[in-house]
């Protein structure tokens, strides 16, 4: 049974190592950008990062991009945001072509 579980899990993809703002964090100062560091190099042309408000509207500046000096980093800039709950939605394609997707929230008080 252990074998069945292990073979069902496919973890050869990249996953977030840490993020700014942190996953699930509550901040008092509105961040000017969202940054996520992954555990492997990304293909920036195929990786995306968006931020939505609690109504599901995209609120980032639409300039999600990788960092030429750090291939593990994905970031997007933000306009001044009011207090609320925001959802970060990411899609990361690793150098080996594997895609992973995910999302998390942070709160501005």
């Amino acid at each position: 049974m252990l074998l069945c579980i292990l073979t069902e899990v496919v973890w050869g993809h990249v996953f977030p190592e840490h993020a700014e703002p942190e996953v699930g964090a509550t901040v008092t100062v509105a961040p000017t950008r969202v940054r996520i560091w992954f555990n492997g190099a990304l293909e920036p042309a195929f990786s995306t990062l968006h931020v939505q408000n609690s109504s599901g509207e995209q609120v980032d500046r639409g300039d999600g991009h990788g960092d030429p000096s750090d291939p593990t980093l994905l970031e997007v800039s933000l306009p001044p945001l009011p207090p609320g709950i925001y959802r970060v939605i990411w899609s990361a394609v690793a150098r080996d072509g594997h895609r992973t997707e995910g999302d998390y929230t942070f709160t501005i008080k």
């Binding site: 049974m1 579980i5 073979t7 899990v9 996953f15 699930g24 080996d96 998390y104």
Partner: protein, 156 residues
């Protein structure tokens, strides 16, 4: 799942059930007694059995990356804590209703290229065994270890 229950999001419950049909109703073993020289036949009846089980898992990586960064350091930020409960119940041929099974608490750690797992195997009754055992497994991600050979499509 509501925000108040967010720490339950990394929790998973899995289950499996299936019958085991033997290809023969009995297994006959013949051997020669070394003392008397007589031929002995041993007959073992193969019963139909029902295998079933479930597992409870908590994914610390999912907690850290998708729910709440609780600051787990390496290697705990890449672990799954789990308990498995595999059982088997005999259905005929003299052992109707006899059940064997185990409680297997364990850990899985996974990186980008390898996955390691270990469990303690605790029998639930005398019929399942008398001693505590250990299960381990190593899983290599072949396509990630060799992205230019096994990790590529054979036909393009």
């Amino acid at each position: 799942m509501p925000e108040s229950l967010k720490y339950l999001r990394p929790l998973a419950i899995t289950g499996v059930i299936g019958p085991n049909f033997p290809t023969d109703t009995k297994t006959v073993t013949t051997k020669v007694d070394e003392v008397t020289g007589e031929i002995e036949r041993e007959v073992e009846f193969n019963a139909i059995a029902l295998s079933y089980g479930f597992s409870i898992q908590y994914d610390l990586q999912y907690l850290q990356s998708f729910v709440k960064d609780v600051g787990l350091p390496v290697p705990f930020n890449r672990m799954i804590v789990l308990v498995e409960f595999p059982f088997e119940t005999c259905l005929n041929r003299g052992c109707d209703g006899d059940t064997t099974g185990f409680v297997n608490p364990g850990l899985i750690w996974f990186g980008r290229y390898i996955q390691l797992g270990g469990e303690v195997q605790i029998p639930i009754n005398d019929r399942s065994g008398e001693n505590v055992g250990v299960l381990t497994i190593v899983h290599f991600f072949i396509d990630d270890l060799f992205p230019n050979s096994f990790g590529r499509p054979i036909f393009r």
